[in-house]
Each structure stands twice: as structure tokens, then as C-alpha cells.
């Protein structure tokens, strides 16, 4: 089969070359300035969607976790509130000595004097909002049985109080009475 032979004039060849160049330029412009940025933008949007979706999923998990934690923490919250309620409002130096005086008076021991020795912070991060107060409670005249009962009662009613030192001496003039010194530590929330 004989293909018809194209006979192009010089002018036509020039035009054809120009058209081919135009076509290449068109393709370049199309891919570089139209389709390229469009696809780039699409990929960016996809990435954003994926990122947001991940955030939403993790957030939903976080919300569910918080709800579950809320249910689990009921006991701890009640316990925490009870422990917090053990210390009245105000500076401990203002309420602790009178409280001790009243406590020991109710136990049949008069003349109880409580003094603040020092206060320290805890090393544990969990107790960063709590302070340790060291007190010295003097009972100049008490009998051993009352002291024992009072100390037991104090330890049972004040769970955040620890007796670190206990000193009991017989009064030389009145051997039926003892002189008692109690070094106690209380844990009180900072306010």
C-alpha cells in the first residue's frame, strides 16, 4: 500500500514546529500550574482529613476514658472529700491547738497545750498540694489510762495524724499522774 506522501511547504513546516512547541508549552503549563497545584492541594487536604480524623478518634477515646475514669473515681473522690473535710478552713495554727485542747478536755485531760514546731512539704508529687505540720502537744498532768484512751481515740478519729514521739514521765510529787509530751504530724491540704 502506498501512503500518500505529505508534501509540506517551508511555511507549513514552520507552523507545524511552532504548533508542536505550543503543545509542549501547553502541557507544561497544564501540569505545572493547573493539575499539579490541584493535586498538591488535594493531597494536602487528604492529609488534613487524616490528621483531623485521627484527632477526632483519639478525642472520642479520651472522652470515653474520662467518663470511665469518672465512674471509677467515685470512691476516691468521696474518700478525698472526707480527708479534705478533716481540716477546717483557715490556717492550721489557728484551729489545731484549740481543737486539741477541746479533744483532750473531752477525754478528761485538762491543760492540753499544742504548739506548732515546723511544717514541711512532701517529696512525692502526688502530695504537692499537701503540707506536713509537726506539732508538740503537752499534757502536764494526766493519768496513764486516760492518756492511752485519748491517744487511741486521736489516732482513730484523725487518720491524717501520726504520733512520731511519745514521752510519759511520772510526776515526782504526784506519782498517780504523768506528764505527757506528744510529737505529732498532721497532713493538711494547702489553702
Amino acid at each position: 500500500m502506498n501512503l500518500p506522501k505529505l508534501k509540506l511547504s517551508k511555511d507549513q513546516t514552520k507552523k507545524l514546529a511552532l504548533s508542536a512547541m505550543g503543545f509542549v508549552v501547553l502541557l507544561y503549563v497544564y501540569f505545572s500550574f493547573f493539575l499539579g497545584p490541584l493535586q498538591k492541594s488535594r493531597a494536602g487536604t487528604f492529609a488534613q482529613i487524616e490528621d483531623r480524623q485521627k484527632k477526632i478518634d483519639s478525642s472520642k477515646a479520651e472522652v470515653n476514658k474520662a467518663a470511665a475514669l469518672e465512674r471509677q473515681a467515685k470512691d476516691a473522690m468521696a474518700r478525698f472529700a472526707t480527708l479534705k473535710a478533716l481540716a477546717p478552713e483557715g490556717a492550721p495554727i489557728a484551729w489545731f491547738p484549740p481543737k486539741m485542747k477541746t479533744f483532750f478536755t473531752n477525754q478528761g485531760i485538762d491543760r492540753a497545750v499544742a504548739r506548732l514546731e515546723s511544717n514541711t512539704t512532701f517529696k512525692q508529687n502526688e502530695l504537692a498540694a499537701w503540707t506536713k505540720f509537726n506539732w508538740l502537744i503537752d499534757l502536764p498532768q494526766a493519768d496513764f489510762a486516760s492518756v492511752g484512751k485519748s491517744i487511741a481515740e486521736l489516732e482513730n478519729t484523725q487518720p491524717l495524724l501520726t504520733i512520731t514521739k511519745l514521752s510519759i514521765h511520772v510526776l515526782p510529787e504526784q506519782p498517780q499522774f504523768q506528764q505527757v509530751a506528744i510529737a505529732a504530724t498532721t497532713v493538711i491540704e494547702k489553702r
Binding site: Q12, L16, V63, E126, A152, N156, P159, I163, L166, V187
Partner: protein
Amino acid sequence: MALHLNLLHEEILELRQRQRDPLKIGMLVLSSCGALLFLYYAWNAYQTLEIKSKLSSIEAEWKKLEPKVTQAQKRSAELTDVINTTRVLDDYIDNRFFWGPFLEKLSRCVPPNAQITSMEGSLGDEDKGGGVTVMLDGVAAAREPRSAAEDLRQMLLEQLGKTYHDVKAEFKTLEDVETVASIGGTTVPMSRYILSVTFNPNAAKPVATPAVGRRKAKTKDE
């Protein structure tokens, strides 16, 4: 055979040449390609718009969810803090040494022919094991006053050993004194002692009375 004459030969040739014009064909191909590329671009643009609208809806959902999440995270941190603090406080409460039961035991250990005149008790640091040291100063009166004091030491070892661990009781001083005591009309010699008692209460949890709020509080003398 019929004779076929082409009188418009030149015109037809010109027409055919015009139809086969490579420039025209090229322009047609170019236009077709352009149209295809335009359609492809339009399709891509449509998809991008669709994706952008999806992103907008997700953004709206996130905006709705974000305050809740922030609140939940804050609450979660707060609750975790409360739980941890309560746990540490509970440990602190549970690891306390209770002097009430100890004093009760001590009072039960002292026989009628011995007296304690002074007691100095101290609780060791938690870091160093939290041991308890008690110094007892007293007097014993009997025919054999030293054996009366020894009875007290033995009784302390026995009774405290039931509740506490590593109980040690040793005399720092045990000496006869010139003073005499009258017990039941009989004059008996006396001796003075200083007794050092050490023990570790940490392994003896049952002694610790429960704390307020979790378990019912009770006194040692119930």
C-alpha cells in the same frame, strides 16, 4: 466501457490537499488533547472540591468536639491527681504506727512488783524502715528485784512479739538501789532498770485500726 472524464481535476486535488493539511490535523489533535486535559482537570477539581467539603464537615465536627475534649482531658487529669493523691494518703494512713494498742500491751506487761516511771517512744524514719524505739525507765521491787525486772523484759518480748516484728528488749541499766519498798507489809529490796525496746511494726497491719471514712472507727478499749 464508459469514458470517465474529470474536468475539475485541479480543484479536486486542491480540495484533497486542503483536507490533508497537517497543520489543520495538528490543530484538531491539539484541540482534542486540550479538551481531554480540560475534562481531566475538571474531574480532578470536582474531586478536590468534594474532599474540601468533607474536610469542612470534619473541621466542624472537631470544633464541636474540641471543647468537650479539652474539658475531658482537664477532668481526666484532675481525677487522676485525686486518685493518686488518695492512694498515697491511704498508704500514709495505713502505714501509721498506732500507739494506743502499744500502750495497752505495755500496761498489761507490767507486773505488780514493777513500775515504769518514764517512757520515751519514738518512731523511726519511714526511709529507714519505720522501726519503733522505746526506752522504759522504772523500778522493780521483790526478794529478787532483778528477776522481777527480767520478768517484765520477758513479758514484753512475748507480748510485743505477738503483734510486731523483730522485737528486741534489752537492759541498758539494771542496778540495785538502796531504797527498799514495802509490799504487803514486807520490806523488799529494789532495783532500777532502763529497758530499751525496739520493734518493727510495718509487717503488723492487723493491729492498725481502720481510718475514718473507709471503715468504722473503734477505740482500743472497746
